[in-house]
């Protein structure tokens, strides 16, 4: 099983895991601050303080309505995190069901499921999400579903290869001889063995989900105003790039930190698992 340690399998320092942990803790702390007590009301406008620069009062300045960018960034980051979590949950659950069935049973089920899966996999997830949003409309929940469904194929692929790996192993044959049914073998005997690999792909999934959500909300699909969203803030910042270039700094750096943290964690975990 996976045991947390800042060292890789061979005992060398795992700097990916260290850096990822530090950055993710920083991001989560900021998000927590946003939940507990954001310095300013995210919707409080103050036209006399439009585009204030960085200062002790507004550490990331203010936007075109005089709203505090730092508060909006940390609250918006929470929304992004929620959407990413929903996306990964749906993608993981769907991927588990499809991947486990395809990998464990093999044969026709595998052929059909993977044919469909690879077709969808070839399709960029943002595009798939755009199709789904165009069918069902935009909004936070639709974006979670859209991205979640778009993420199923990559999880399914990974789960399938893991189940395929264990299907023929001796301990599974042993369980089968003792009379364990397929469901039991999949859930109790194979699934726990896939957890370390699953963990690292969940983290990579988070990284991709944050990027995808930011992209969609930049396009104006997804979280609707006045609720703060990092992507939308960047799209607003872009129209004021000439007069207030600093506005883009906060939301942009927050997205980078979130993605960087998750991707480093994911790679660190996979280094820990695979050596």
């Amino acid at each position: 099983m996976f045991r947390f340690s800042f060292h890789a399998k061979d005992g060398k320092k795992n700097s990916y895991l260290t850096a990822g942990t530090v950055i993710t803790i920083l991001v989560l702390a900021l998000i927590l601050l946003g939940i507990v007590h954001a310095p300013y009301d995210t919707e409080a406008m103050n036209t006399s303080e439009k585009f204030a620069g960085f200062s002790l009062l507004h550490i990331l300045g203010t936007d075109n309505f005089g709203r505090d960018v730092f508060s909006r960034v940390i609250v918006g980051a929470f929304t992004t995190l929620k959407i990413a979590a929903g996306t990964v949950a749906i993608g993981l659950l769907g991927g588990l069901v499809i991947g486990a069935a395809a990998g464990y049973f093999g044969g026709a089920a595998d052929a059909v499921l993977m044919r469909i899966n690879d077709t969808l996999f070839a399709f960029p997830s943002v595009l798939l999400a755009l199709v789904i949003v165009s069918l069902f409309g935009s909004g936070t929940y639709n974006v979670i579903w859209a991205l979640g469904i778009a993420f199923i194929p990559s999880f399914a692929r990974m789960v399938r290869s893991e189940f395929l790996r264990y299907r023929e192993s001796d301990f599974i044959a042993g369980a089968r001889l003792q009379g364990a049914g397929s469901m039991r073998i999949m859930a109790v005997h194979i699934f726990p063995n896939t957890l370390p690999v699953l963990l690292s792909s969940v983290l990579i999934g988070f990284n991709n989900a944050v990027l995808a959500e930011a992209g969609l909300s930049y396009l104006g699909i997804g979280v609707q105003p006045p609720e703060p969203s990092l992507g939308r803030m960047l799209s607003e910042a872009q129209s004021y790039l000439m007069t207030a270039p600093l506005y883009a700094f906060g939301p942009g750096v927050m997205i980078i930190l979130m993605v960087l943290g998750f991707s480093l964690l994911g790679e660190g975990v996979s280094k820990r698992v695979n050596g």
Binding site: F123, L127, L130, S134, G252, L260
Partner: protein
């Protein structure tokens, strides 16, 4: 040859499947196309007549057959919003997005291969360590944000291009490609980082193999081993990556077109989603699917040519 034929057959089946799913999805959603074309407050009898004329009362499979036959003839239906043939609407957009993706692809290949080789060759040096950290950070930057940064840095501070100053390819082909350079760079940057990382590790893995030691023992220099032996094998995973990147680049161009104000497929797709202009959305999705699946097949074939030992089926 059999392999190529088989691949092309799979391509046809896959595209057919995607187009059917898309068609099905767009025919079950609420909203009457006839009503959309005529406008909200139309006479029900007129709407019904148009429904009959458009064949909307036929079974879905019959409608799909008709749609497919028309699509293959180059007739992609009529836009609800602009009341003009979708084919005419998209004819000018496709080359723009293709040019943007192609330029991004070219940038990725041209920049990532030398950087990856350099990084592996000088493993552990300051430059290599800098590149490794750089790659990790760059992969975390969403392309639209690097687009904004590029707009600010190269557009507003250094005046290397005019943000929003898109030039049509009909007016001036050179200026068209020149304007696409920075958007293409924004799309390519994260892919370059990933490719450099991949190449670096595949060159390093390959260098530890026995045949490399043998090549050295025969008196080859580092460079002749690297370029004559290692690279041939180390480039294979990169080719797969490049192939898979094509799909992402086309998807990336949808967002980047928005950042740089380029009137390509992506911008049209987004406007059409806003207008619920389903025939246009449908056509764009199927077009992109064809491009994506075709490029994947092309990579598989290329892969086979590069390494005949691999059997793909």
């Amino acid at each position: 040859m059999r392999f190529v034929l088989k691949k092309i057959l799979t391509l046809a089946v896959t595209v057919l499947a995607i187009s059917f799913i898309v068609f099905l999805a767009f025919s079950v959603i609420p909203g009457d196309p006839a009503l959309m074309l005529l406008g909200g407050e139309s006479d029900p009898a007129k709407v019904e007549a148009l429904r009959q004329k458009m064949g909307l009362n036929d079974p879905v499979i019959v409608q799909y057959e008709r749609w497919l036959a028309a699509f293959l003839r180059g007739d992609m239906g009529t836009s609800y919003k602009y009341s003009m043939p979708v084919t005419r609407l998209l004819a000018d957009k496709v080359p723009i997005t293709l040019a943007l993706s192609a330029e991004a692809f070219l940038l990725m290949v041209v920049l990532s291969i030398p950087l990856g080789i350099y990084s592996a060759k000088h493993e552990g040096s300051a430059a290599d360590r800098f590149l490794v950290v750089c790659n990790q950070v760059v992969m975390a930057i969403p392309p639209f944000f690097s687009g904004i940064l590029i707009t600010y840095l190269f557009g507003m501070l250094l005046h290397l291009f005019t943000p929003g100053g898109y030039v049509s390819f009909r007016e001036d082909l050179g200026a068209f490609f020149a304007y696409l350079f920075f958007p293409a760079l924004a799309i390519a940057i994260p892919k370059i980082a990933m490719a450099v990382k991949l190449l670096r590790s595949s060159v390093l893995t390959e260098s530890k193999k026995d045949y490399v030691r043998t090549a050295y023992s025969r008196g080859n220099s580092t460079n002749s081993v690297l370029y004559g032996h290692v690279l041939k094998n180390a480039l294979l995973p990169a080719v797969t990556f490049f192939g898979m990147a094509i799909a992402d680049m086309i998807a990336g161009s949808i967002i980047i077109e928005q950042v740089f104000g380029i009137p390509g497929l992506g911008k049209t797709l987004l406007t059409s989603i806003g207008n619920r202009d389903y025939p246009v959305i449908e056509a764009i999705i199927v077009l992109i699917a064809v491009i994506v699946v075709a490029s994947n097949v092309l990579v598989d074939i290329l892969y086979q040519v590069l390494d005949p030992r691999i059997e793909i089926d």
